[in-house]
């Protein structure tokens, strides 16, 4: 290529400069942009730490009927430690083996209650009915009531308040 100062050659100085500017600009935009996007969406993928919560001595839970237990859960949420009031339904037939239900209906999350006469869980929102084991009797919920893991340590009942689904 002769006459490099000639602006009419195929790859002129003007072309070269605008190519450089566009490329460098694109690299900067890519670095800054991907940093920004990563930073922005990362909280969505952060795992919340949950802890085992002490629900009290096992003697206090009546046998046969589910009991609603209120508890306070301390958890780290980003840069603060929050205290969240929460509850769970505790069911035991022998005082040794426990099932603990998440207190939210598996349809859209309404709090349900125990009907002593019918011996069923009733959800007020869209009239779902669950049996004592959490199975769906009628209504729109797609699956049985979710459960919390539980364990007994030194005769006290502990739950891990993270809902786990039960397969139908």
């Amino acid at each position: 290529m002769d006459g490099s100062s000639d602006n009419t050659t195929r790859f002129s100085r003007r072309h070269f400069l605008s190519w450089i500017i566009t490329t460098v600009g694109a690299v900067i935009a890519a670095v800054l942009g991907s940093t920004a996007i990563g930073y922005f969406i990362s909280p969505a993928f952060q795992r919340k730490e949950e802890n085992w919560v002490d629900l009290g001595p096992i003697g206090t839970f009546p046998k046969g009927n589910p009991t609603k237990v209120e508890f306070v859960q301390r958890m780290r949420d980003a840069w603060v430690t929050t205290e969240r009031r929460s509850s769970a339904w505790v069911l035991t037939s022998d005082g040794e083996n426990y099932i603990v239900f998440d207190p939210r209906c598996t349809h859209l999350g309404c709090p349900y209650h125990w009907d002593e006469e019918k011996k069923q869980f009733l959800c007020p929102c869209h009239t779902a009915v669950f049996d004592v084991g959490g199975g769906v009797v009628s209504g729109p919920p797609p699956r049985p009531l979710d459960r919390y893991q539980n364990k007994i340590v030194d005769d006290r009942l502990y739950v891990f308040p993270k809902p786990t689904q039960v397969k139908t």
Binding site: L32, T35, A36, G38, S42, Q46, A78, W79
Partner: protein
């Protein structure tokens, strides 16, 4: 390609895009070579750093709380836990330093080339106000991490303002939002840093750049006969 043309043509008819593009980016600029040519890029460097500061600042604000009991923890959270948070905070911090340096260099080039003279006095005056705004950014931003350095630097800054004759003690009190530094100091510094200053700066930079385009950029000063002879 042809469709692109059509789309551009359609937009141009309705917005005058082509004319705007030509006015902004295809305008004539003084011919210059070597280091002198580089000095002309300093204004664009200011604009670039400012844009970076705005982007990184907005992202930092998403995880920052301007309250004494959370400020420090939220900054630590950004540093330690948010993905790329440390890098982003670093960009904002270094950007703040560069901003002052680059704006001052730009001002020096304008001064030494005599580019502030008629008819560009208003461009210069806007520039002076922008420089003060940049200083205000630095001062208010430094407090936000609410660590020891931030706290005492601001305490000293407020005391310096307090030395002003007659009105000093009142200025210091207003700055701190009370007799002592505390909750109100942090919230007002935050509001200034993320609301008042960016809006004012964007507005003034807009006027500044409008004037730059309006007047065209000045030629490098000519050499006098004496300078030419002595070369």
């Amino acid at each position: 390609m042809r469709n692109n043309r059509r789309l551009l043509g359609w937009l141009d008819e309705r917005t005058g895009l082509k004319k705007i593009w030509e006015t902004l980016f295809a305008r004539k600029i003084p011919e210059s070579k070597g280091s002198v040519a580089w000095f002309y890029t300093l204004g664009s460097a200011c604009l670039f750093v400012f844009v970076v500061q705005v982007i990184t600042g907005v992202l930092l604000a998403m995880n920052y709380v301007p309250s004494p009991d959370h400020a420090y923890d939220s900054v630590r959270f950004i540093d330690k836990q948010v993905f790329l948070g440390h890098f982003l905070r670093g960009l904002h911090k270094w950007g703040a330093t560069f901003m002052v340096v680059v704006v001052l260099l730009h001002m020096l080039r304008v001064y030494f080339m005599g580019a502030y003279k008629y008819p560009r006095e208003v461009t210069w005056m806007m520039g002076v106000v922008i420089l003060l705004l940049v200083m205000a950014f630095s001062f208010t931003g430094y407090l936000l991490p609410w660590d020891q350095k931030a706290y005492w630097a601001t305490a000293v800054g407020a005391n310096i303002a307090g030395q002003t004759p007659v009105v000093g003690s009142h200025v210091a009190k207003i700055l701190k939002g009370g007799e002592e530094m505390g909750v109100a100091t942090l919230t007002r510094f935050y509001a200034l840093h993320v609301l008042v200053l960016p809006i004012l700066t964007a507005l003034l930079v807009g006027i500044h750049l409008f004037l730059v385009v309006w007047h065209g950029i000045s030629e490098p000063p000519e050499k006098t006969n004496r300078q030419i002879e002595s070369n």
